[in-house]
């Protein structure tokens, strides 16, 4: 184990023990246990002493033991009314998790039948052969795919598309760097566009659901997709400015041949129907998590998606999200979140200032931490703050702070460790970390400014 992990282990255990030994004035007994879990999770997530999904599992485990009605602590004399333990484990079947499961099945089936690859080639064709439009095309396609598939899988796929393109460019052409960077950036940006685009969206939406706020698939897209479009365009311009193409034209050979086996056709149809129903949720009202069962059911019953494919699903991501959701539940139910928020006199800040603080903290944190972890740690605090009524109405305030946290954590793309797509791009060896820092910083900051702008001129009018 590295020194960093040891430090994390020691700090994590210390954090866990602290609320058990020390009594914080004003915080009920259950809040102390919730704080133990919170501190341990925060430290383990930050230091990655154990894999981040294990930390999530540990959160649920300790909640069952320490905070549930079936657990080891007797709360009969306390104000806290312990939740049944199935409340905590049910986070693994939260509607948003089922939504993601549907998305995972669609995405993995697409990979299985090369739908993602072939679709990319079809979609890239209209962008012609001018270098700058090819870059735009790559970004648009990456963003569209990553709005429905994992950002990481999309990036890996797109890297297989761009490597041959780069091999055909002049060795000294600065645009080579632009072409490599455009992929992770577009994948990160595309992830914000839909609820299933990236896990932080899930954590935030689930937390809002817990407060009785339903966020329709289509509503999320109305809030976030315009931002994704604008950011994509800005990122494109920034990359062109920083890495101007030396040659105007790149010859592209894009052979695409969509598979036509019966199973592949089933996939295309299911994909189209599911996505159509998702984006029209606002019209027909069928909840997206229910629609998500369609691909799971149809693709498995037709054997387009088989047993070994089910085993290969990224289950640990679902655990990671579930842990994030569970952490939020215990912090709220035990009064810990409220207590923590109450420790600072926020009223001096003013409402926009508060949003800016949360946005900045989220952006900063998620450059170093997992985006999902960032959202998981911040959203309980954000929601408690909104509940306290500081933010011009509880419902409105919760939505606003939720959006700011989710979107800002996705705009962290400064370092290779910021997101897996960034890591993949740097690993090609075609760019240096400093290239990523410069452009990622510019794009992240513009993103933050735009989020703040939308909080003033857009969201208040549609929420």
């Amino acid at each position: 184990m590295s020194k960093l992990k040891w430090t994390g282990l020691i700090l994590g255990i210390t954090g866990f023990l602290m609320p058990l030994v020390y009594t914080f004035p004003g915080l009920p007994l259950a809040g102390h246990f919730a704080m133990s879990i919170f501190l341990m999770a925060a430290v383990f997530w930050m230091f990655e002493t154990i894999p981040i999904y294990s930390t999530s599992i540990l959160v649920i485990f300790f909640q069952v033991i320490l905070l549930s009605a079936e657990g080891f602590i007797d709360y009969s004399a306390a104000v806290y009314d312990p939740l049944p333990f199935n409340h905590f484990i049910a986070t693994l079947a939260d509607p948003i998790i089922i939504l993601f499961l549907g998305g995972f099945v669609l995405a993995d089936a697409s990979v299985k039948y090369d739908f993602d690859k072939n679709l990319t080639r079809v979609l890239l064709k209209p962008f012609g052969s001018h270098t700058e439009y090819i870059i735009l095309g790559l970004m648009v396609v990456t963003a569209i795919l990553s709005a429905f598939m994992s950002n990481t899988a999309t990036t890996a796929m797109m890297i297989t598309v761009i490597l041959p393109i780069i091999a055909r460019m002049e060795p000294g052409d600065p645009a080579r760097i632009g072409v490599v960077l455009c992929i992770p950036f577009a994948a990160n940006i595309g992830g914000i566009a839909t609820p299933i685009g990236t896990p932080p969206n899930a954590v935030v939406i689930a937390a809002l659901n817990q407060q009785g706020l339903q966020v329709a698939f289509s509503s999320w897209m109305i809030y976030a997709a315009p931002l994704a479009v604008v950011m994509l365009f800005i990122a494109w311009k920034v990359l062109l400015r920083l890495y101007p193409p030396a040659t105007d034209i790149i010859s592209l050979t894009l052979d695409s041949k969509l598979k036509t086996s019966p199973n592949a056709i089933v996939l295309y149809t299911t994909f189209a129907i599911t996505v159509l129903l998702w984006v029209t949720e606002g019209i027909h009202g069928i909840r997206s998590s229910i629609v998500a069962l369609i691909p799971v059911a149809v693709l498995t019953l037709t054997s387009a998606f088989e047993k070994q494919d089910i085993r290969k699903l990224p289950w640990e991501v679902l655990w990671l999200i579930a842990g994030g959701i569970a952490l939020g539940i215990s912090m709220k139910e035990t009064g810990l979140a409220e207590w923590m928020v109450g420790a600072i006199s926020w009223d001096q800040f003013g409402y926009l200032m508060l949003l800016a603080v949360f946005g900045t903290v989220a952006l900063l944190m998620s450059n170093f931490l997992s985006n999902t972890v960032t959202a998981s740690l911040l959203i309980p605090l954000g929601i408690s703050l909104a509940m306290s009524g500081i933010m011009e109405g509880q419902v409105f305030g919760m939505m606003m702070i939720g959006l700011v946290i989710a979107l800002a954590s996705s705009f962290a793309m400064v370092l290779p460790i910021s997101t897996p797509p960034n890591a993949i791009a740097v690993s090609t060896g075609l760019l240096e970390t400093k290239d990523m820092i410069t452009s990622g910083l510019i794009i992240g900051l513009i993103g933050l400014v735009l989020i703040m702008l939308l909080s003033v001129i857009y969201w208040p009018f549609i929420l």
């Binding site: 990979v111 899988a153 297989t160 985006n371 999902t372 897996p420 993949i424 060896g429």
Partner: protein, 166 residues
């Protein structure tokens, strides 16, 4: 400590050994190269590498060596669990048909390079075989991407799900 993946070069003529190592030097930053001039020395190297819990990803081996010959060594490695998956390549001008057939059948020979070789050929084969090895054996192949076949590693990540959103 992270597991290191070694390249082992076995060749008794110092000049030839040098030129092999020179041709594959681009890989050295990620795959440390060890050299031996006989099967005997190679065995010692293999033992010491395995002792550190490191692996041998690729062996480039001459056939005619003082003492045991190259094919002998490769077959031996094939029969040892820790070196069974090592990608085995003969670089030689003098292996007869019979011995070569033995290397193919009993040592799962991946490639036969006839001397004199072209640098591009050797680099390409090394790259392909190490890519195979890394895809099959390394949980996080990302760090090797830049010296290996990036397209295949990216494709492996796409289909193999070694890395996910987080």
């Amino acid at each position: 400590m992270e597991t290191k993946i070694y390249i082992l070069v076995v060749e008794d003529e110092p000049d030839v050994l040098d030129s092999i190592v020179r041709d594959i030097t681009v890989f050295e930053k990620f795959f440390p190269i060890e050299m031996a001039d006989s099967a005997e020395e190679a065995r010692e190297l293999i033992d010491s590498i395995l002792e550190k819990d490191d692996e041998i990803g690729l062996i480039l081996c001459d056939h005619v060596l003082p003492g045991d010959n190259g094919v002998e060594l490769l077959v031996e490695m094939q029969n040892r669990a820790e070196t069974e998956d090592t990608q085995k390549v003969l670089i030689t001008g003098q292996a007869g048909l019979q011995e070569t057939v033995r290397a193919v059948n009993e040592a799962d020979l991946k490639h036969y390079i006839a001397k004199p070789w072209q640098k591009d050929e050797l680099t390409k084969i090394t790259k392909e075989l190490l890519t195979d090895y890394v895809i099959d054996h390394v949980e996080a192949p990302l760090k090797y991407m830049q010296v290996l076949d990036g397209e295949r590693i990216a494709e492996h990540i796409r289909t193999g799900r070694g890395i996910t959103d987080r």
